[in-house]
Symmetry: C2
Subunit: 341 residues, 2 copies
């Protein structure tokens, strides 16, 4: 068996890559939410000086990567690889950002699981000795996603209470070898596609919850750890409904996780005041919650060990029109502030 | 510098991963082309028993992976990771195949460069000691691509002579550590996004040619090798027009490559008889030309060393509507039948 693989789905890094720098950029609504103080840049206009939402989203990616590099006095040429992805068809946001950044580029698609997917592959590049610096980044934008996946905003459609609000934001994280200070990525669990037959594109939390549970279960089976080893297990963006379903499913699997199971989509908005229904979603959601809030609390040693489980609903408007259910996926990344021993 | 990196963009594998098995499945038109004898399965109906082209494309991916595994008597559970991507919005073809295959899944998007992208990342997983078996697969389908990127087929639109014909096909390759027999992936060069300002979505060859040249140049600069070291340098799918531009640009760069520079999009169809204008394209194009034709000739020692340079035009209908030019990318994978020494 491959020497770094433990169990069926998990890689344990012998030399855990360090996350040396992160940047988070969010839109105006996210900037009024409960995590406001943790974001590096809050836009006051979600067009960000561009003439379309898609281009604004792409600019967020570009600026997030540049700022993450600047914080460590790195030039863009110092970065070996860019792993990026977003929700837009053909990754318009990532591809156009990559054009301007000129870093060798791997485009990824995992819907809202993409932040954990990009962190996983970036960590593999570093730990395998293939690169010195790798950047992992993802983005989403409420207005570009809404018109692509649902309705033109101009229609003013009502949204069902199970629906989630796509986060406007981009997060970027730069990884380097163990020699750098933490936090460190110590393990990753790569998800399988899970589909319990949910067909309602306005209830993605319900579709994604079983995928989150499958990956969390795999992580604990593969590693022999228990939820008590973590300060926080945080799913990507199940939202309030998906979060409840996940807690319920985990209990049925004999894995009662209550207090430590949070969700990026629940944390980012104030449910009572911000009218975001089931909570936040989008690739940018777990990206900015991780690169903003979680990373900073790991740095300050307030969190010692977290499990980030970004979740993605792999539906397309075409698959929904063809009567298909929603395949979902979740990838887990274990991040620790300090290395033991 | 990372120990396996040479130059700016190239990784040299210390223990080159072996490609132990490939499968290629193509549609009826590809099955009438000049490479017909090399494909494992030729469909007589491009719906493949499904009720939509998208589902037919997804079935090709699934069957290609299953057959590639079967050839080496592997069960799907033996495969550690699936790297897959396609042209459809939100990777409908790959995501639904991954749902049925149940292999831990990384979704990729690099347009028609995806086969080289998936081979690159699969090789990294194997050589880094992260996995024992990894499958790399991509697909495209003329009818699903045409209605997504251009016009409903029912309109019977005329196609300009610069346009390319999306290949209906899927290729899958299984990689394992060096101990297995060749061919081997010895080096990879990861592309940057290049954009020379071409805005004509019906002339993707012209848009992609500079990206192919950029990556080929990087490969030879990084490695110190010369085109004479190769039996064949084969671009993904520049088509006839892009191929001519690439030869011209390479000559201007002081790198005259003539006889050894071929293109998967040119090779797969009979230009005179099959009415495919500038040639084939689509993720499936370099996938089936590699997994069918090239792999078999490497196995038979007719080719000793090739450079596969899959090229992707990263446009989306939205980016074209917004007046953007076409960003392109190319990834190179050096494949050798035998290892020296």
């Amino acid at each position: 068996m491959a020497k770094k693989k433990i169990g069926k789905q998990t890689i344990q890094f012998i030399d855990p890559p360090s996350i040396i720098s992160t940047t988070s950029i969010v839109g105006p609504k996210e900037g009024k939410g409960p995590l406001s103080q943790y974001f590096d840049i809050i836009l006051d206009d979600d067009l960000y000086g561009e003439d379309s939402w898609e281009k604004a989203e792409s600019k967020m990616v570009k600026e997030a990567v540049k700022l993450a590099a600047m914080q460590k006095k790195l030039h863009l040429e110092d970065i070996d690889y860019l792993f990026a992805g977003d929700l837009l068809n053909q990754l318009m946001s990532s591809s156009f950002a990559a054009r301007d950044l000129r870093i060798p580029y791997f485009g990824l698609f995992g819907a809202c699981s993409t932040m954990a997917e990009s962190l996983s592959l970036a960590a593999i590049m570093i730990e395998g000795g293939f690169a010195d610096y790798v950047v992992a980044t993802t983005s989403s934008h409420f207005s570009s996603a809404e018109r692509q996946f649902r309705f033109p905003l101009e229609l003013g459609n009502q949204r069902p209470l199970t629906s989630q609000w796509t986060v406007t934001g981009a997060g970027a994280a730069i990884l380097a070898p163990t020699e750098e200070k933490g936090p460190y990525i110590t393990r990753i669990t790569t998800g399988r596609v899970i589909d319990y037959g949910i067909k309602d594109a306005n209830n993605m939390g319900a579709a994604m919850a079983p995928a989150a549970v499958d990956t969390i279960k795999a992580y604990f089976q593969d590693t022999g750890e228990s939820p008590n080893d973590f300060d926080l297990i945080v799913t990507g963006d199940l939202g309030r409904i998906g979060n409840e379903i996940a807690i319920d499913l985990l209990r049925k699997e004999g894995m009662p996780i209550n207090k430590t199971l949070k969700d990026c989509g629940v944390e980012i908005f104030d449910h009572a005041k911000q009218d975001t229904h089931a909570g936040g979603s989008g690739c940018g959601c777990s990206a900015v919650v991780f690169c903003g809030y979680l990373y900073k609390l790991l740095k300050k040693d307030i969190f010692k060990k977290i499990l980030l489980v970004s979740t993605g609903a792999l539906l397309s408007p075409t698959s929904i029109q063809q009567g298909e259910s929603i395949p979902s996926i979740a990838h887990a990344v274990a991040i620790e502030g300090q290395l033991k021993g």
